[in-house]
Amino acid sequence: MTPSERLDATFAALADPTRRAILARLIEGEATVMELAEPFDMSQPAISKHLKVLERAGLISRGRDAQRRPCRIEGAALAEAVGWMEEYRKVWEGNYRRLDTLLAELQAHKGKA
């Protein structure tokens, strides 16, 4: 996968609330499909489908133990996606900080008038 394709896969994977919840659970430590299926009202095959999407996006990896195949979170892809979001956020934080200043000024003028 090219970096751009990888990022597409990452964003697509993160767009789903169940997959985000699975990631949130995996931040606490590795877990098996059965353990992951438990808190969701979902069958193991349904959870497995989500895990495949997350794996393809590079967000998780699966252990080799054929019985358990525990899932663990992979930081790099997530960090890349979050990094890009952070830059977008920075641009808008700058815009909005200037807007704060302007709004304060406009209200001060109004108060005087």
Partner: protein, 162 residues
């Protein structure tokens, strides 16, 4: 006080940004629609300022923004107002001259007010997931390229001119 900016991706084609401002929403709405005010804040990464800021605030009316960097580069964007409900809602299309977002994006700004404070919720709907990620990448590239040191001079000049 600086409020927190929430950036989320509610669907694969959208970016949503929510932020609180310590001002009534009619003022926030004016800051989005009056060129003299827009020029003061919607300037993006350091080093950029408006060279063109034309607003025809009517449904079906166009706006045209061009930003110029201190190094001479410029970046233009045109759009059409689709819905204007002062001071609560502004919907428009946007299209960058370089069209890195693969066609028009639809922007919706919703302003709600409580106790003199305004919550601004802006949603940008892109033509595709790829287009949205492209927009995020452009934001990054410009952020990195910005000439921080010259910003003060540009701002001082602009404020003196006004």
């Amino acid at each position: 006080m600086t409020h927190r900016l929430e950036v989320t991706t509610p669907s694969p084609r959208e970016i949503a940004m929510t932020r609180v401002f310590d001002a009534p929403r009619d003022l926030v709405f004016d800051c989005w629609t009056i060129p003299a005010l827009l020029k003061r804040w919607l300037t993006g990464p350091d080093g950029w300022s408006f060279s063109v800021c034309d607003v025809d605030l009517r449904v079906g009316g166009n706006y045209r923004f061009v930003w110029q960097h201190v190094d001479g580069r410029d970046m233009g964007m045109t759009g059409t107002y689709r819905e204007i409900v002062r001071p609560e809602r502004l919907a428009s299309t946007e299209l960058f001259d370089m069209d890195w977002t693969d066609g028009e994006a639809h922007v919706t700004l919703v302003l709600t007010e409580r106790g003199g404070r305004t919550t601004s919720a802006m949603t940008v709907l892109y033509s595709s997931e790829k287009a949205r990620d492209g927009a995020i990448q452009v934001g990054m590239a410009d952020g990195v390229a910005a000439g921080y040191d010259r910003l003060d001079g540009v701002l001082a000049e602009r404020m003196a001119a006004e």
